[in-house]
């Protein structure tokens, strides 16, 4: 046990390190979308505030969050928000993903990460749902794991703070 105490202590100290910089560069990726096109993060990077959300059809909290993101896209899309949803379902479940999207009348682009390429890079623990918000400065400004009803208020606050002010 004594051997591990320094390690535990070191990890504890990590958590109290002061924040270095706000933001993290968002690395580009390209994934096939549910509609068949290839979509890259760089298609929107630097042009819009991007909300990337990882989800799976088997994850109930993800579906709750998607309903809120769908509303947010409709309301804030004109002001420069772009929601990108990334499904981590396996390739075999593509029909289930599309069924869900159709049923929800979900309008934001849905990308398919069936090889886990992107989720491994951004969310290696593969927590679901997992959301990140990228500012127009291409920096990841917020990351969030999980979703409970009411979280959409905080997410919206984060997004609105990054959007250009409404005239």
């Amino acid at each position: 046990m004594r051997f591990f105490l320094p390690l535990i202590a070191a990890l504890s100290l990590l958590s109290i390190s002061p924040p270095l910089h706000a933001g993290e560069n968002a690395g580009d990726f390209t994934l096939p979308s549910l509609s068949g096109d290839n979509i890259s993060l760089s298609d929107y990077l630097g042009k819009k505030v991007i909300l990337v959300s990882f989800f799976a059809t088997w994850c109930a909290p993800c579906i709750k969050e998607m309903a809120k993101l769908n509303d947010m896209q409709k309301e804030l899309g004109d002001r420069g928000l772009q929601v990108l949803s990334i499904s981590v379902d396996e390739a075999r479940d593509k029909a289930k993903v599309k069924q869900l999207i159709k049923r929800m009348r979900y309008t934001p682009p849905v990308l398919l990460d069936s090889d886990s390429k992107v989720v491994n890079s951004y969310n290696p623990r593969k927590d679901m749902p997992w959301t990140m918000i990228i500012g127009i400065d291409k920096q990841i400004q917020h990351k969030k794991k999980g979703f409970t009803e009411g979280d959409e208020v905080k997410i919206r606050e984060w997004v609105e703070a990054l959007l250009p002010k409404a005239s």
Partner: protein, 620 residues
């Protein structure tokens, strides 16, 4: 509980408390290391280092909850597991690493443990307490400390192409051909270590890959877990997809592999037509499997095929999903090994997956099966109600011992509802389903390629019916900053026995039963405040002989069909604190069975565990 607390090392609690207090003082700011930001000409200018560290401390304690049982529970032991992932991005280049470490104590070199062991077991060779593995594992890891570079990759993302060296996953088509073990939601995976090249243009997609299979050795939750004992084996393949128009997609793929020690290959194709009249999607995949043969063998070479079809019709508020599959020797890619709950991907499954989580011996996990499933879904705009129904039928031509060596005809209907409700300031959300699966036995014809003993066993075997009733409910209420969620799952398995079976466990009381079924239920009630603080209570119960359980004969993965299994109720509580977005503190006390747990707005699959575990997750 008293014993549990007495055994926790005194230093851990103060550190955990200090960490919690200090963490609560952190400002709510996402953090990252921006290398070389002040030096515009530096090589690392504009680069980003993303660092994630998760550590678990676990105290594994098997409670002696059956005083009538003379067997003593396994010795308690401590575990520390740490996973560090780091991603360095330099413009289009990404370097990713994952380093895992595992330590457990005491071991046989510990004098006090050796004495305690000798006192209980006499002169027999000392076995470290962390080696209490269920039957089925061949070479359990018994070292007290392991450090592994589990994942490492270098990726260059160009405009329209990507080149990756190191670890990666892959799936072609809908996954029939390349069914590599991958269950990301439960922290188990098996990637390739090699090279991969992807070309992505508007009309053309090309993937080439080659490498050695690379199973994850240390899992964050499942100690000593060698995923499927798959040695590093060569695998190489490629796929080409062509999209002549926006709604047409054709693909060809081929994979050669040496997973069974005999060079084999498969080749197949896919066709996808989307948005036909804006209401219909069609997909079909067909694959042929050509398995290698021992030199000098006189037997016919093994061939197989896999055909999968999916059609989805969207008609206003209704969608109808139709799936069909026909497999013959389709899943010999993975080396045969012990049955492991929660393990394999099963390319395209026709099942309602939550129901099979702990029942993988069912017909869905078959490489010789023909099946069809219809799933209509109806959405009511006015009430926001979604009703889903499903009926699946399948003829399973693969034996699944120990439950049945016979072929089975499976019928599985289920229905589900999802209903969000707004009541003033409160939001209610209900997701529920109920279904029943019945497996009718079908006496199989004499098959070639099986031993005469196996053939006789099948001929003599009683044709047992098996069935599974299941339901699940997920109900949440949110009002203001408060959120309450109740998740309840239940499965009742029934197996009809030929005769009444009697057995006498060590407790000495004879038990007789004709119905050799079992139940499994999980209940979780959680309360979340402001999305940051979650308290959850779990009450699970099962007498499932194959469920993972520490107290179930002292094993993670009690994989043998064992009459002496213990009926167990598991009670536990967990606290999740997310004071800032880049930090999560987690603590669990009690006992839990393996399965999917959804609390605090996130889902994960947990292994069987009894004791105390804490987790500190830092992301910056």
């Amino acid at each position: 509980m008293k014993a549990l607390l007495q055994n926790i090392h005194g230093a851990v609690i103060p550190i955990a408390v200090a960490t919690l207090l200090l963490a609560l003082t952190l400002p709510d700011t996402a953090t990252a290391v921006q290398l070389g930001e002040e030096q515009g000409s530096a090589l690392l200018h504009g680069s980003t280092l993303n660092f994630n560290n998760t550590s678990y401390y676990k105290y594994n304690l098997v409670l002696d909850d059956d005083k009538d049982d003379s067997r003593e529970p396994p010795f308690p032991f401590h575990e520390f597991i740490n996973r560090t992932t780091a991603t360095l991005r330099i413009k289009r280049l990404t370097l990713g690493l994952q380093m895992d470490a595992l330590g457990s104590w005491p071991g046989c070199s510990d004098a006090s443990f050796s004495e305690a062991y000798a006192e209980r077991h006499g002169d027999s060779d000392c076995i470290p307490p962390n080696q209490i593995l269920g039957s089925g594992w061949e070479d359990p890891v018994s070292e007290q400390f392991l450090l592994r570079l589990e994942k490492a990759y270098l990726r260059y993302a160009g405009k329209g192409f990507e080149l990756q060296l190191g670890d990666f996953y892959a799936s072609f088509g809908r996954g029939i051909v390349l069914s590599m073990v991958k269950r990301p939601e439960i922290d188990q995976d098996n990637s390739l270590r090699g090279a991969r090249f992807d070309l992505m243009t508007k009309r053309l997609g090309l993937t080439l890959l080659g490498g050695l299979t690379n199973p994850q050795e240390i899992s964050m939750e499942l100690r000593n877990q060698g995923i499927d004992k798959l040695d590093a084996r060569l695998l190489a393949g490629g796929s080409v997809t062509v999209r002549p128009t926006g709604n047409l997609n054709f693909g060809l793929h081929s994979v050669g592999y040496d997973l069974l020690g005999l060079p084999s290959f498969s080749v197949g194709g896919t066709a996808e037509i989307s948005n036909i009249a804006d209401v219909l999607d069609l997909f079909i995949e067909g694959d042929g499997f050509f398995y290698g043969q021992e030199e000098g063998s006189n037997e016919d070479p093994v061939r197989g095929h896999g055909i999968y079809f999916a059609g989805t019709l969207y008609a206003g508020p209704m969608t109808l999903l139709i799936e069909a599959k026909s497999y013959r020797n389709a899943q010999l890619l993975v080396q045969p090994g012990p049955v492991v709950p929660l393990q394999y991907t099963n390319p395209p499954s026709l099942e309602h997956e939550p129901t099979i989580t702990e029942d993988i011996n069912g017909s869905v996990q078959s490489g010789n099966i023909h099946g069809l499933r219809l799933q209509p879904e109806l959405f009511f705009f006015k009430t926001n109600t979604t009703l889903t129904g499903s009926v699946g039928v399948a003829l399973d031509l693969e034996p699944h011992p120990p439950f049945s060596r016979q072929h089975e005809f499976t019928l599985h209907p289920w229905i589900a509802i999802e209903q969000p409700i707004h009541l003033g300031k409160a939001d209610l959300h209900l997701v529920a389903d109920v279904g029943y699966r019945h497996d009718f036995p079908v006496r199989s014809d004499q098959e070639s390629g099986i031993s005469s003993e196996e053939s006789q066993l099948r001929a003599d075997e009683f044709l047992s019916h098996t069935g599974m009733l299941h339901y699940s409910v997920d109900f949440s209420v949110t009002f203001g900053k408060h959120s309450i969620e109740l998740v309840s799952r239940y499965r009742r398995h029934a197996v009809t026995l030929e005769d009444e079976v009697c057995w006498t466990p060590e407790s000495g009381t004879e038990t007789c039963d004709r119905d050799d079924g079992w139940i499994a239920m999980e209940n979780a009630l959680s309360y979340t405040l402001m999305g940051k603080y979650t308290l959850a209570l779990h009450i699970d119960h099962t007498d499932d002989p194959i469920v993972q359980s520490l107290s179930n004969n002292g094993a993670i993965g009690n994989l043998a069909y064992d009459k002496d299994w213990r009926r167990s109720t598991y009670i536990g509580a967990e606290v999740i604190v997310k004071p800032v977005s880049n930090l999560e503190l987690y603590a669990f006390v009690g006992s839990q069975k393996a399965g999917i747990v959804c609390t605090g707005g996130a889902c994960r699959t947990v292994p069987a565990f009894t004791g105390v575990k804490t987790r500190l997750s830092v992301n910056f």
